[in-house]
Symmetry: C2
Subunit: 121 residues, 2 copies
């Protein structure tokens, strides 16, 4: 996967983690990845990758609603069905540079996670 088109990079990332190929997904993240999420904190690519593999394993299906792109930014909007949390809607904003994802912002309700005791903050 050598494409540098931001939308294709993000689609590949999404397709790989939802297919449980977490190693390939994490390979599309820059070493100095910045992560902004509404619950917990992932200061490094490795810590985010571990969480992605742990949580991603519990995701049964995802339904893409929208994919939008402008310049080096991409936003995905999708619903995911999970084993523990039921259906969760996620907006995920990516910044891509030279074929790698350098920033991920996730926006979602944290209520299901807090109710399940999954939040650390």
């Amino acid at each position: 996967m050598t494409s540098k088109d931001p939308l294709l990079v993000v689609r590949a990332y999404h397709d790989r983690w939802t297919a449980k190929d977490f190693g390939a997904a994490i390979g599309l993240l820059a070493p100095d990845l910045a992560v902004e999420v509404p619950i917990n904190a992932y200061p490094t690519r490795d810590s985010f990758g571990e969480a992605l593999a742990r949580f991603g394993t519990t995701v049964k299906t995802t339904d893409m609603i929208s994919e939008l792109r402008a310049d080096d930014e991409v936003m995905l909007l999708y619903d995911m069905d999970t084993e523990q949390l039921g259906r969760v809607r996620v907006a995920e904003h990516f910044t891509v540079k030279s074929g790698q994802i350098i920033r991920i912002r996730q926006i979602h309700d944290t209520w299901p996670m807090r109710a399940a005791g999954m939040g650390q903050d």
Copy 2:
């Protein structure tokens, strides 16, 4: 404001409600507006408009992070500072038809609202 460019329609909507000109903002919403939000429910344009005016009054500032558009879809990502809830990050996805917003999807954490007793579900 007669533009039918989806991004300009959505920017106008956002600019007007954040300027507390709720009547002008609601005027950009189609009569059969569909609303998908993570807490509470607004089955009609009027019910959504009332909530917009009520909640919008408590919003002190908004900081736009990203605006993305493709065809008739627009997504805004912004942080807002509110009187009651502090800082809240919002992803807002719009579908625009003939210069009017026909669908709004909001994605945000509901935890601050629930903690403040603002949720009805």
